[in-house]
């Protein structure tokens, strides 16, 4: 699964600025961590996850970085169900259509 073939769609990672290279006047927590970058593109060479691989992005830029994911999926969704929101919905309908606003 970790094998990357030339032409595969992958996501790479780079460290842009090490903590000591970062801008002045950062909050203390941000100062301690590097500035990192992720970008996706087609692998220009064979390799495996964790290797330094050069990619060609959709705009045609060539960028080299550590391969972290093959066919990276979108991970965002609608989250866990939030019952509090349904309570709000019920209250709103009750106030407007089934009761009085001033209790």
């Amino acid at each position: 699964m970790d094998i990357i073939k030339k032409g595969d769609w992958i996501q790479i990672h780079q460290v842009i600025l090490k903590p000591e290279e970062r801008a002045a006047h950062l909050p203390e927590d941000t100062k301690k961590v590097p500035l990192e970058l992720w970008v996706k593109g087609f692998a220009l060479e064979d390799g495996k996850i964790g290797d330094e691989i050069e990619i060609k992005t959709v705009t045609g830029r060539k960028v080299k970085g550590k391969a972290i994911k093959l066919n990276p999926r979108y991970v965002h969704d609608f989250g866990d169900y939030v019952p509090e929101l349904t309570k709000i919905d019920m209250q709103l309908k009750e106030i407007l259509f089934g009761g009085d606003c001033d209790e």
Partner: protein, 473 residues
């Protein structure tokens, strides 16, 4: 050719890179002091209202419907004193091609880039503007790169920003994602230099002029459908472009008497450049973390002179709480059948409270909505907040502490008006101008400029200057 790509070297080439990437000679509008010729810049470096209407209609942007929110108005009236509760309307900007009013700004920026012969456009944004630029670039056949501040140092991304990444990629753009920090600007400059693409900044004269059609259209729609101008327009305020462009459009429509009200989500206490705070907020835009710094110093943006100057236009500035905006987002959905936002509902939340101090025959308009979906919805935002240790409560929204809890109002009457003191903002702006230019003595031209840029008067500016020991020559 091996350029020095170190942070200091690239930042040192900032002006040179920017000039190539934006095609505007900002020096032409400078006075040599604090002041610059704002109106001439808007006229000469931007486009006329008619030109923009043509550009936007050719890409399906604008002419979004005005909807009256009758149930939300009824709810506000139930909470208001007798006879109070203005009619609430919304301009459904989610109907734009990329799902938000930002399509208006992007349409003019991309048109301009294509006209000048650029092969591609780059925008630095984690918000709807990225999707808007990507969508417009797709139509124009230009390449597009969107640079996002997206992850904290654990590579955990804000759901809303992850959704914007997906949207940008759906429109065919390359998305470059970064961890938290102002050095995003460094990466942005590197990309501009590498590609020679156009800087589709949010803050150019044509970007801001792109929003003027929103204000203008709104007035024309009211005159046609309702027979009169609205009394107040409420505008979500972050970087200042929404307020500035809309207000300029109102003025161009001859609606000078309409009150311009800004609204932002209160995120006080959270540091915008903090790795820890980054994922402790549930709103990635329309909040005070942008709204206040951009109002009190607009020229902090990615262009030498920001065309978005909100203090020139704001009559009032209100803050709302995160829990209140989620609550009103639910109300819009279950009482009006419109699933929108949440961030775009910041101004709607303020309007809901503001309507209650207005008479029933008055009209208040919220001038935008935005699309919703996975990541960009109360459900993923609240469950993400819970995962990050934020407490979710019902109660008095005034007890909400950004980064610690989200307090849903236990009753809609708990959604309140909270005025941000504009006099304080204007004072900070004047102090910032003096500090940034390092002046002890300013010209009469500067004095008049500062009065205009703060929608105040010469006496007010003089009183602030006296306090900080600055003289007028």
């Amino acid at each position: 050719m091996n350029r020095d790509m170190s942070y200091a070297a690239v930042m040192g080439r900032k002006n040179e890179i920017m000039k190539k990437a934006i095609g505007i000679d900002f020096d032409a509008f400078e006075s040599g002091g604090i002041s610059f010729d704002y109106e001439r810049m808007m006229r000469e470096a931007g486009y006329s209202l008619e030109e923009i209407q043509n550009i936007q209609s050719s890409t399906g942007v604008g002419n979004t419907p005005i909807l009256e929110l009758k149930n939300l108005t009824a709810l506000a009236r139930k909470c208001a004193p007798k006879g109070k509760g203005a009619r609430i309307f919304i301009k459904d900007e989610a109907c734009n091609p990329s799902g938000s009013f930002k399509a208006r700004r992007a349409a003019t920026a991309v048109y301009h880039a294509k006209k000048l012969g650029y092969k591609g456009v780059i925008a630095a944004t984690s918000g709807n503007y990225g999707a808007a630029v990507a969508s417009q670039a797709a139509m124009a056949g230009l390449k597009c790169i969107v640079v996002q501040e997206c992850y904290d140092s654990r590579m955990i991304g804000q759901p809303e920003i992850l959704e914007k990444q997906r949207a940008c990629e759906a429109y065919g753009a390359e998305v470059v994602q970064l961890t938290v920090g102002p050095e995003l600007f460094y990466s942005f400059l590197c990309l501009l230099e590498e590609t020679g693409y156009f800087n589709a900044s949010l803050y150019t004269p044509f970007g801001i002029a792109g929003v003027e059609t929103l204000g203008y259209e709104l007035i024309m729609q009211f005159r046609e459908k309702i027979g009169r101008d609205p009394d107040k327009v409420v505008i979500t305020h972050a970087g200042g472009g929404n307020v500035t462009g809309t207000a300029r459009g109102l003025i161009k429509a001859g609606a000078e008497n309409v009150e311009v009200v800004g609204a932002s989500v209160d995120l006080s206490g959270l540091h915008m450049a903090s790795d820890n705070d980054f994922n402790r907020k549930s709103f990635t835009t329309g909040h005070t973390g942008f709204g206040i710094p951009f109002a009190t110093w607009p020229d902090r943006s990615d262009v030498p002179r920001n065309a978005a100057r909100p203090l020139r236009y704001l009559d009032r500035y209100l803050t709302v709480k995160q829990g209140e905006v989620f609550y009103i987002t639910e109300a819009l959905s279950v009482l009006e059948g419109l699933e929108r936002g949440p961030a775009g509902n910041t101004s709607l939340t303020a309007a809901f409270a503001l309507a209650q101090e207005m008479d029933e025959d008055q009209i208040i308009v919220v001038q935008e909505t935005e699309y919703t979906g996975a990541g960009k919805h109360p459900m993923p935002q609240i469950s993400f907040a819970k995962q990050n240790g934020i407490e979710i409560l019902f109660g008095d929204p005034d007890t909400e502490i950004p980064g610690q809890n989200i307090v849903f109002p236990n009753h809609p009457s708990k959604i309140k008006l909270r005025d941000f003191d504009l006099t304080k903002a204007k004072t900070s702006y004047i102090r910032n101008a003096i500090n940034n230019y390092g002046k002890n003595v300013i010209s009469n031209q500067d004095l008049e400029f500062l009065a205009k840029d703060t929608k105040s008067n010469v006496d007010f500016v003089l009183s602030v200057l006296t306090d900080i020991g600055v003289k007028v020559e």
